[in-house]
Amino acid sequence: MVRHKFVTVDPDKCVGCRICEYVCSQEKDKVFNPTKSRIRVVRIYPTVNASMTCRLCEDAPCVVACPRKALEQSKENGVILVNKDKCNGCGWCIEACDFGAIVLDPSKKVVAMCDLCQGNPKCVEWCPEEALELTSRDLLSQKARLGAVKKLVEASKTQS
């Protein structure tokens, strides 16, 4: 699970341009409609911007919350699979998700979330700021660790 990849955002780089929303709705539904996008931009004025999407939680709360057993987490890559015949759009999963990563398709009335576009997420491909990244918890902690050590080394150099 720690190695399952998901899309994450660097809020320092995200400018809130919403290209990810347009690309996602186009890829999944062949339309431009941010309300159908599996990744949504949050802007808090004046300067906070971040795109939010599914983080492939372990023991995903959305799966647990579904009263109709319509959601299932893939063992292979960790994405949440929606059984469209079982889902009736009740929204329990939406409430259970801590990241607001689940959308209710306004026309189909079933939920949808990031499926990683067969391992090549279009939002990551198109993001002009390189603010989005396909990564895993394992890789994120590696990166943080490396960064912290590099900082320490730099600091010791300037002190000596």
Binding site: V15, G16, C17, Y22, V23, V31, P46
Partner: protein
């Protein structure tokens, strides 16, 4: 047709009723969107000659053809149109952010607001539902408070709001419309038109799809365009931002300084793009579907204006900076913040304060008029306070809030000689005395003093022409620039991205990919021409004559005193040469009236009756 919703929503504030009108492919093809839709709708829906504050003056929002798609720098642009209270002629202004995309998601391309509500209201469009909501608790609030309160009241963080602050309520003729916090449909006083209707805002939320005609081709083309948008053609906007112009204009002796008493500012370094970015810019943000992003959000971290936050561009930096003789970036940021909150056009506000400062220094107004403010050039605190006084119409702010033209009439005593306006709209940040092509563009601009209808400072600045010389041939250049810009304002594409597009052919190509409507580059050019002629017809109907196509007295009489542009001015003789060349290139009479042949050529012969009596 694809992408377009084909729907016009009419809202009558007097009766509270609304109706939906549809349009077809032919209308779309002829006017494209944005400025084309706006001017056409205004011309056909406004009773000729009415007062801009008459309830029957329609306030029109019009979206571009590519709105709510991934076309770069076009997803959320919209235009606003009405008879302007600043010029009594065509009022038009553009904005971006997210509001435009939301209106299309809700299912409309054009919104026409008429009438006047008995009590303060705001319009709430939630897909096909339209409601007039009570706005009595919002009246007296800033544009920012209004936006936040409406979101809270409706319980939806994705509601987008375009509305006015106190300046619009107080019918300031330079009041603007603010949307998405930092964006403004700034010029020609359209905020006052909204205020005159007892309307505080238009809130929108939409969930409908926008479908385009050719998805694979559009995606492929957009990939290329996004690359270009990250390339050298847009680097200015992405790095220092438009504020980079401060030093560039200063070097060219074209930076308006102390109400155009000079064209170079000794404090330019301290209000430069370099200085701004190093010390104040904390984040650069983007509008919907913009791969280049340009919004430089600046925050003041120390001093009397601590906490002031605004999106900073060259124009307000010039208006509140060099043109007010102020070399303090913190005061400029504070002034722009107040303009955004109160809903004032930040360009005009700075220009008017500069005019007030010159009046004060010449003793035409005193501390008695200013409420004790020492309104000298360079007094940053007084400048900030005067923004407030204009929004609330206190002291001399009462007069200044209506613009330089009415203010100079009220103050009199020869102040008309340094009233920097054209058609009642204040000048922008180019000293046109030493930019003769731009001077023509400004003189004939359909919305009054303006660089955004033509961009004809380009040939002057890049050396394609001798910028100090007036020649008839400049007419053709300005005509070409205007027609091109009319297309940008119709599609609507952000002009900051203009460098990434290879002419009309490419724009026609993307238009067809999006809408499915066949279009050629030459047809595009012709539509640009059609739109400019349509605007001329509107303006002539509202009383415009050749004598309105002019430049301010100072531009004509007072030469630039120093620097590389020293000695430059635009004489009456220069102006006549430029105008003759322009009218000729346009196919208009020497009086500036489109000829019958021209109307026919552009399929506008239906408007012949408006012009028939105006030709000599």
């Amino acid at each position: 047709m694809q992408a377009y919703t084909g729907k016009i929503l009419h809202v009558d504030l007097t009766t509270g009723r609304s109706k939906i009108q549809t349009f077809d492919d032919a209308f779309a093809k002829m006017y494209i969107g944005g400025t084309g839709f706006g001017i056409k709708t205004l011309l056909d829906n406004q009773k000729p000659g009415i007062d801009p504050f008459d309830p029957e003056n329609p306030l029109i929002y019009a979206l571009g053809a590519v709105c709510n798609t991934m076309v770069p720098c076009g997803a959320s642009k919209f235009g606003v149109f009405a008879k302007s209270p600043a010029s009594n002629l065509l009022g038009e202004a553009y904005s971006t952010g997210q509001w435009g995309a939301e209106l299309r998601s809700a299912g409309y391309d054009i919104l026409v607001i008429r009438g006047k509500a008995a009590k303060p209201k705001y319009i709430w469009i939630d897909d096909e539902s339209m409601q007039l909501m009570d706005a009595s608790h919002l009246w007296g609030k800033t544009a920012w408070e209004t936006e936040e309160t409406i979101r809270k009241d409706l319980g939806d963080e994705y509601v987008r709001v375009s509305g006015i602050g106190q300046a619009g309520e107080n019918l300031s003729r330079i009041a603007c419309l603010i949307n998405d916090h930092f964006r403004a449909a700034g010029r020609t006083g359209l905020g006052a038109v909204m205020g005159s209707k007892n309307l505080k805002a238009v809130a929108v939320r939409g969930t409908y799809d926008t479908c385009v005609a050719d998805v694979p081709k559009l995606q492929e083309f957009c990939k290329d365009l996004y690359e270009r948008a990250r390339g050298p053609k847009t680097s200015k906007y992405r790095t220092l931002g438009t504020a980079a112009n401060v030093l560039a204009m200063n070097k060219q002796g074209a930076l308006p300084t102390r109400n155009f008493q000079a064209a170079m500012f000794e404090g330019a370094e301290k209000i430069s793009g370099e200085y701004l970015n190093e010390r104040y810019v904390t984040k650069i943000e983007g509008c919907s579907a913009c791969p280049m992003r340009c919004e430089h959000i600046a925050v003041v971290r120390e001093g009397p204006f601590t906490g002031a936050t605004a999106r900073i561009e060259y124009e307000p930096t010039m208006a509140f900076g060099s043109n007010c003789g102020v070399d303090r970036m913190d005061a400029i940021i504070k002034s722009v913040e107040l303009c955004d909150m109160y809903g004032l056009d930040a360009i005009s506000a700075g220009m008017i304060i500069a005019f007030g400062m010159e009046c004060f220094e010449r003793g035409l107004i005193t501390t008695q008029d200013t409420g004790g403010l020492d309104l000298r050039f360079g007094n940053a605190e007084a400048m900030v306070e005067m923004v407030r006084k204009m929004a609330f119409r206190q002291d001399i702010g009462k007069v200044l809030a209506d613009g330089v033209r009415p203010a100079s009439k009220a103050i009199g005593k020869g102040s008309e000689a340094f009233a920097l306006e054209i058609k009642g709209v204040e000048l922008t940040g180019y000293d046109i005395r030493g930019l003769k092509t731009a001077a023509l563009g400004y003189a004939v601009s359909r919305r009054g003093a303006d660089h955004q209808r033509h961009g004809s400072y380009g040939p002057d600045m890049d050396g394609r022409v001798d910028r100090f010389k007036a020649e008839k041939s400049r007419g053709k250049i300005v005509v070409g620039d205007e027609d091109n810009y009319a297309i940008f304002d119709s599609i609507i594409l952000c002009k900051f991205s203009r460098g990434i597009w290879n002419g009309y052919d490419e724009i026609a190509k993307i238009y067809t990919m999006v809408t499915g409507i066949p279009y050629t580059g030459e047809e595009m050019r012709k539509t640009g021409e059609r739109i400019n002629n349509l605007a001329r017809i509107y303006n002539i109907r509202e009383g415009l004559t050749r004598s309105d196509d002019t430049v301010p007295p100072r531009v004509m009489n007072d030469p630039i005193p120093s620097g590389v542009s020293k000695g430059s001015r635009v004489t009456q003789e220069d102006l006549d040469i430029l105008l003759d060349g322009y009218y000729e290139a346009r196919g208009w009479t020497p009086e500036g009236v489109p000829k019958s042949e021209k109307l026919k050529e552009l399929d506008l012969e239906g408007y012949e009756s408006i012009l028939a009596g105006k030709r000599k």
